[in-house]
Subunit: 224 residues, 2 copies
């Protein structure tokens, strides 16, 4: 990861937006900002020609995406065989209400990554990857909890996907209506959508007197 | 759609949860409640062995899932060829904070559907499907806006996926820690996450005096 990487992803046939190319971005800064705000991805792969899509958590460290789960999971077992994967991360920012049904849309920031995932076998890297994963989901948590022991590390499969072939697709702003429709007496605009956290709910077995930590009480996905 | 369907999905090799089978549900009521609360799915398919995952909107009508987009989109053009697809809908309900890093988890409700999508060519069904789609995303909107004209209908590709092979996977509740860890002085519990809407943002070209409709001001994804 110390090697110099191009600040731009080289567009490939799979990552090039043919329709609406203005919505595409290929710079790492944009792609990584989206990856860092999310923490759930959808991983696609094929087994015997049958496609699978599985939602799972992830963490980014530099130019690597880490995905982890049980060593027993079907997905991770399949990915252990060095199969090609497509990973999608989508942040939904709002609904776009136009004057015509046809021009309705959504505002979103989405990243797609193509590549071949490989198993992290080095114990040191595995532990660092799990910390990365934890910090991506809820920064600050790792330092408060019991770290994985040897058995738990063995029971956890960590996969790494190099961030080498990726692109972002972004839509922002108001609807784009057909010119004659602008005179229709219909409200049009954006309805912003956000993911927010509620009040932390204590485990029924939590002893009295242990207050929820600040990173839970003030949890936010906003990055920047 | 008037035929009688089994209230249970028959589990298949692809939809059977082998790990943590208690998290699985195969009844249509549970699966459909999840599909109805969401409106963005991730569609997975393979072209020449290369997997793709694409986020897109959907609408459910009875035992059919409708997906639509531009007739020019790569995804929909590919799916027109009757390729097998996997559709995933995931509602994220919260983070599960355990006393050990290993037992951290997420609460979620997720549906996976396998099948072969086909093009809706009948104009009547196409229009109904677009209405279904619109009502799924923002109920009430369709009746306020200009309906698609013939050219727009032609430019829109609608795909239908029968809800025949599907299952749900659900996690709820507090963390499940290893017994010795319960005495650790660490806060543990759930951090609920919700999708909420903000204040509607008017299109800069909206004339004065048109107020945002109630279905936008009081938008919620909660169903039932």
């Amino acid at each position: 990861m110390s090697e110099t990487v191009d600040p731009q992803f080289l567009p490939t046939a799979r990552t090039t937006l043919k329709r609406l190319p203005k919505r595409a971005a290929y710079d790492r800064e944009t792609v990584y900002a989206i990856l860092d705000e999310g923490f759930v991805c959808h991983v696609g792969f094929a087994i015997d020609g049958s496609p699978y899509v599985i939602p799972t958590g992830y963490g980014r460290d530099g130019d690597v995406l880490y995905i982890h789960g049980s060593a027993a999971s079907r997905m991770l077992r399949a990915l252990e065989q060095a199969v090609p994967v497509c990973v999608n991360v989508t942040l939904l920012d709002g609904l776009v209400l136009a004057r015509s049904a046809f021009h309705h849309s959504m505002n979103y920031r989405s990243v797609v990554v193509f590549g071949v995932a490989s198993v992290v076998s080095d114990e040191g890297e595995k532990l660092r990857a799990l910390r990365t994963f934890s910090e991506q989901v809820i920064p600050g948590r790792w330092d408060d909890v019991r770290e994985p022991d040897e058995g738990e590390l063995k029971a956890t499969l960590v996969l790494k996907l190099p961030l080498a072939e990726a692109s972002a697709k972004i839509r922002t702003g108001p609807p784009i209506d057909d010119e004659p429709d602008y005179k229709l007496p219909v409200w049009a605009g954006e309805l912003p959508l956000h993911t927010v956290s509620g009040k932390p709910v204590a485990d029924p077995r939590l002893p009295d007197g242990i207050e929820p930590p600040g990173y839970a009480v003030h949890y936010t996905r906003r990055r920047a």
